[in-house]
């Protein structure tokens, strides 16, 4: 494998895996969906979120790093901030859809069995406070935690990227230090009405910065280590270990075979603060992937890989659409049927809609890039990449 180098073209593997991650996030967000048994989180410690955050860091550095070298800190920084704003607007849009769904439930649901669950409507009693807290990214309904993380990471990305370009080891070291201090001192951002961010940005930044560091030559520097049989063996052994442990979550009878001391060491596996076990699991997956999926793998150019790649290349739009579709799928299951055939149907239709939307967005971008009189794009491809960090 040739480690991705800054100067070469886009690594389609990243788009492929980000596209697949987006599908998995969609499936995991539909509650009571048995199709989600097939997703990554049931077979190890990490899940699609890690892939999404890492690849996002990688592509952000790849796209804006080039921009920063060619056009300077101000222009690249301004484009990153514009991107941050777009994601913020997308988050608020999703919040509006969430409000619509929950308000519908509020007026139509009166099953006496679930009187306690109806406390979720408490926040509607104080719309002034709740909506302002939502705009401040402090009130985040369930399943709407990833975009606020992404917003914070991108907001602080201009100086991070600058440091990564000129003192990459120092930048990565600072990121690790922040992660360690976060664990040591329990730093996190406050949430409304209580608690903290579900994806602690002080911890999850490690994965984002690590992705960016890899894009800016880090992966190349690591390539000897990544390719060594010892590393690959350790990675495979760890993946098997994580798989066996994850089996015990779903087959309680197996739990008794896990030694007590091991339980003490590994639990709880903290998603909020990106547990070391999760990070290591992602690294192991990455090592195995890099080893067995070469960059010039012919499948990447085949039509079977294309649907995932096109979704991965328009990740913001497809991510938001995925959250919306998971609401819609849940709604359809509640109103029509929650049976297994319905779960299969909404899962499949949802992914098809995501692919169709990605094709449409791509078509728009190509059309706009070519239309006469439009702002001169360097190339459609650069726009594609630039819009999709």
């Amino acid at each position: 494998m040739h480690a991705p180098v800054v100067s070469t073209g886009r690594d389609l593997r990243l788009d492929l895996f980000r596209g697949i991650a987006l599908w998995l996030i969609f499936l995991d967000h539909i509650p009571s969906n048995l199709v989600a048994w097939g997703t990554l989180r049931n077979y190890g410690f990490s899940d699609a979120t890690e892939i999404f955050v890492f690849v996002s860091g990688y592509t952000a550095a790849f796209v804006y790093g080039k921009e920063m070298r060619e056009r300077g800190f101000i222009i690249a920084g301004a484009r990153i901030l514009r991107r941050t704003w777009q994601i913020y607007v997308a988050h608020v849009f999703l919040f509006a859809i969430y409000l619509a769904e929950i308000s519908y439930v509020a007026t139509s649901f009166e099953n006496p069995l679930y009187a306690e669950e109806m406390n979720i409507l408490d926040f509607l009693k104080q719309p002034d406070v709740t909506i302002i807290q939502a705009l401040l990214l402090k009130f985040k309904p369930s399943n709407m935690d990833v975009l606020p993380l992404y917003i914070i990471l991108l907001l602080l990305f201009p100086p991070t990227l600058w440091l990564l370009q000129f003192r990459s080891t120092l930048a990565l070291g600072a990121s690790v230090l922040l992660y360690v201090l976060t664990w040591e001192f329990n730093w996190n951002m406050p949430s409304y009405p209580s608690g903290h961010w579900y994806f602690n940005p002080f911890a999850w930044q490690l994965l984002f910065v690590f992705g960016a560091w890899c894009a800016l030559g880090g992966a190349q520097r690591l390539s000897t280590v990544l390719q060594s049989p010892v590393t690959v063996s350790i990675a495979i052994a760890y993946l098997v270990f994580a798989f066996v442990i994850s089996l015990t979550w779903y087959v309680p009878g197996l739990g008794q075979y896990v030694p007590h001391w091991l339980e003490e060491v590994i639990y709880p596996i903290d998603k909020v603060n990106l547990d070391v076990l999760r990070f290591a699991h992602f690294l192991a997956l990455a090592v195995v992937t890099v080893k067995f999926v070469p960059r010039d793998w012919p499948f990447l150019k085949s039509r079977w890989a294309w649907p995932a790649i096109v979704c991965g290349q328009h990740s913001l739009e497809i991510f938001c659409l995925g959250v919306f579709l998971s609401f819609a799928a849940h709604f359809a299951m509640v109103e029509v049927s929650g049976a297994f055939w319905m779960q299969l149907l909404v899962s499949a239709v949802g992914i098809l809609i995501m692919i169709a939307a990605a094709c449409l967005i791509r078509w728009y971008k190509v059309a706009e890039g070519r239309s006469p009189g439009s702002r001169s794009m360097k190339t459609p491809d650069a726009d594609l990449a630039g819009g999709e960090a």
């Binding site: 509650p31 009571s32 069995l113 679930y114 669950e117 579900y198 009878g253 709880p268």
Partner: protein
Amino acid sequence: MKTPVVSALAGLSLALGLLAGAAAAAEPCEVPNYLWFGNNDLKHVAEAVKKDKRLTIAVVGTGSSILAGPDGPPSAYPARLEAALKQKLPSVAVKVVTLVRTRMTAQDLAQGMGKLLIDEKPDLVIWQTGTLDAIRRIEPDDFRAALDEGVETLHRGGADVILMNMQYSPRTDIMIGLGPYADNMRVVAQQHEVPLFDRLAIMRHWSDTGAFDLYAAGKDNVLAHRVHDCIGRSIASMIIDAAHLRPADLKVGQ
């Protein structure tokens, strides 16, 4: 004692979507073996029943441990549990007291455990919690600390504990992230070696097998009463099992 192979097959059948679930609908309260979480002994319960012929159980919980309306209290699961235990243990004086307060987090409930031990002197406390914590998105670490505190208080006071997690509520489950709270209840149950009545998985199973239509939105008291009856009877089975109370033992002691 179930073998790992049986458990694995059972888990697999769940994963495959319980296509044959309709067959189980005939027996709505049936709980498959793999959903019983933790095979820990209820020593105080066993002692109270076998020696003293009496059993006092306190149900500590929130809104999902009660039902509204005039026929609510006798239909809610604590009363159904009492009825089921009296039927199964006719020679034992069974008393189930409920200390239910709505809109309480695990932390709120944990603080009342000391007083509960003095007032009621229960042999067993069934602690139902987690829903409001998930709705308010209480810090999962704080939630776990509250569970730890509550269970430790009860153990020090000489009571057995059964933890009960949230209800399976398909209509609202996209809006309430139960995952971290259910996980933490599992961890606490495992670490303190107390049984967990996995209401979430059990009700989910009843829904998947078609025993109950938990998607129903309407004001259906009959459904609510039937579900609570099944929960009460299932906990009764769990207690008998975990305290190793066999009818034969009880007769010997008489």
